[in-house]
Amino acid sequence: MKKLSILLIFSFIIIACGSDDDNNTPTEVAVNLRFSQIFDELTVTSLNLSSTVYVNEMNQELTISRLRYLVSRLVLTNSNGDSFLLSPYHLVDLSNSETLNLNTNLTIPEGDYTLSFVYGFNEEDNQNGAYADLNAVSWNWPEMLGGGYHFLQMDGQYNINTEPAPFNFHNGTARVSEGVFEQNFVVFNLPNTLTVSENSTINIQMNIAEWFRNPNTWDLNVFNTPLMPNYEAQKLMQQNAASVFSASVE
């Protein structure tokens, strides 16, 4: 008897779902994200860290030994104006392959979307010590520089074939003067349509070369380290951030 009732309940559920399908409600599909990095035509993975030599816009030869960056408020929006929050924030660490994929546990209707996200944290989200997982990996940005969190850490050596010297391309809140700070995040509303279907993965790609050229040509002989307290360097990074990200569906 009990089994029968359960069976009946399930049948109702199935019928209910089925009738939705008849009304052309699209299938719900899982959303998976992937974060990949390139230096123009070269793919950059953890295997390339500290070994592959890249050439920037100024013809400076460099290696990258650490690359971590934060994106937040990742949202997909469809033409009906329905929005789906994929993740409140995500830290990518090139040396940790687990961080290069993000299974959102979210299902959304199949169809066309655009992607928006924040590079770094916006002012509301960028609170001192607010995220235990980010604290645990020392992602904090010093309070005297405005606090909150780093947005980017790219460390390496430049002039690698002549006189190697370190650069620490770290980005976060900009300090104008003592106690005066300027927000430095970038909101991305990527214009291209992402068609999401079963088993598709959205690939968010960073072209590292863009950090060194667009619109500001980056001279590592001038801006290498320390850059965090350097207001001008912080704003140049923010401007160059605007072209580093793109997204596609795989």
Binding site: A132, A136, S138, T225, P226
Partner: protein, 355 residues
């Protein structure tokens, strides 16, 4: 009335069935880690393996084993001989001596807040994937306790107290090396340090001197000490990033460190960034104990950096030898670093020799 009676009967039945199964199986007493307020406020949960939960009996057994020379080949050396409570469980000697008087080649690491080593990979070179794995090694290392596990297990089985203590801690499982490492690991996870002057300052319970306050400023300034990228910050109160760095000690490596473990030449010369807690008690410093004093350590980062291929780019101004701190900033930085020392940790009665 009838309803009440029925409930009563039902509950009695439940009670009887529960208690009968309880009688069948002894269970060791679960023990929560005492997480410092500053950790629970800012950090993710500590790492406790599901196959080795903390228990009162397990911790007590681990403590007894840690201080007992019974695990060594000739019964003369305990873990605590090279991990001394008064030295934050490190060794004041540059290199510890094994039971045959043979010296090691790295300085004994302090043992503190080990459950917050989120990436695990214990030891200076990351050679032990877990804390339990780490404990296997010194017992059989010929230049340390130089024993064999069968012999160590036999000594424990023939002892007047240990068989009962193992029974209570591990619910009757037979004594073996795995249980020894589990018990000691449970004790080590209780070695928690989170009550330094600086911790109390963060909690608003304490004030710091102007010198200490300038010291944290030097620590947190990228254009001064820039210590925080590897050594934590007020919101990462472990004072380590738990990862591996080449901090510019040598041009050529006598000891490859992490590189020797991974086989990846990009890891050569990298060692675990140690926590800055309890520096007052943990001299000498660096993986090879080359620096006797904190002044030498600070001078290293200020003027003594040496370039090598795998040097961490966070070692700035390496061409000039380092960040060139003023004498005043050095003194202030040192004052701040010492405020991370925690006398309540080294003197905690629960962490002393019970034997």
């Amino acid at each position: 009335m009838f309803i009440k009676l029925t409930y009563c009967l039902l509950f009695s039945l439940l009670f009887i069935s529960c208690s009968s199964s309880d009688n069948d199986k002894y269970v060791a007493t679960p023990l929560e880690l005492e997480v410092p307020e500053i950790f629970s406020q800012y950090l993710i949960a500590p790492v406790i393996p599901t196959n080795n939960p903390q228990t009162v009996e397990g911790v007590a057994l681990g403590r007894k084993l840690f201080f007992d020379p019974i695990l060594s080949g000739n019964g003369t050396q305990a873990c605590a001989d090279c991990h001394r409570p008064q030295n934050a469980f490190s060794d004041p000697r540059q290199f510890s001596l094994g039971i045959d008087g043979i010296a090691g080649f790295r300085n004994s690491m302090p043992l503190q807040n080990l459950a917050w080593n989120f990436n695990e990979k214990f030891n200076w070179d990351g050679s032990a994937p877990t804390l339990e794995d780490q404990i296997f090694e010194p017992v059989t290392n010929p230049i340390e306790m130089n024993n064999t596990w069968p012999q160590a297990e036999a000594s424990l089985k023939n002892h007047s107290e240990y068989p009962q203590l193992f029974k209570e801690a591990f619910e009757g499982a037979p004594i073996d090396s795995v249980l020894v490492t589990k018990a000691i690991a449970q004790f080590l996870r209780t070695l928690i340090s989170g009550n330094s002057r600086f911790d109390r300052y963060l909690l608003g319970e304490n004030i710091l001197t102007p010198q200490e306050l300038n010291g944290i400023n030097v620590f947190m300034s990228e254009d001064l000490g820039d210590c925080f990228h590897c050594h934590g910050n007020p919101f990462n109160p472990l004072w380590t990033d738990n990862t591996f760095h080449n901090n510019g000690l040598d041009e050529f490596f006598a000891d490859l460190g992490l590189g020797n473990v991974t086989g990846d030449p990009r890891d050569n010369g990298k060692f675990k960034a140690p926590s800055l807690r309890n520096l007052l008690y943990t001299s000498p410093y660096m993986h090879d104990g080359r620096f006797e004093t904190l002044d030498e350590v600070i001078n290293h980062y200020s003027e003594g950096l040496v370039f090598s291929e795998t040097i961490d780019p966070l070692m700035k101004a390496v061409a000039q030898g380092g960040v060139q701190l003023s004498e005043e900033d050095k003194a202030d930085l040192k004052a701040f670093l010492l405020s991370l020392s925690d006398p309540g940790f080294i003197n905690n009665p629960d962490f002393q020799n019970p034997n």
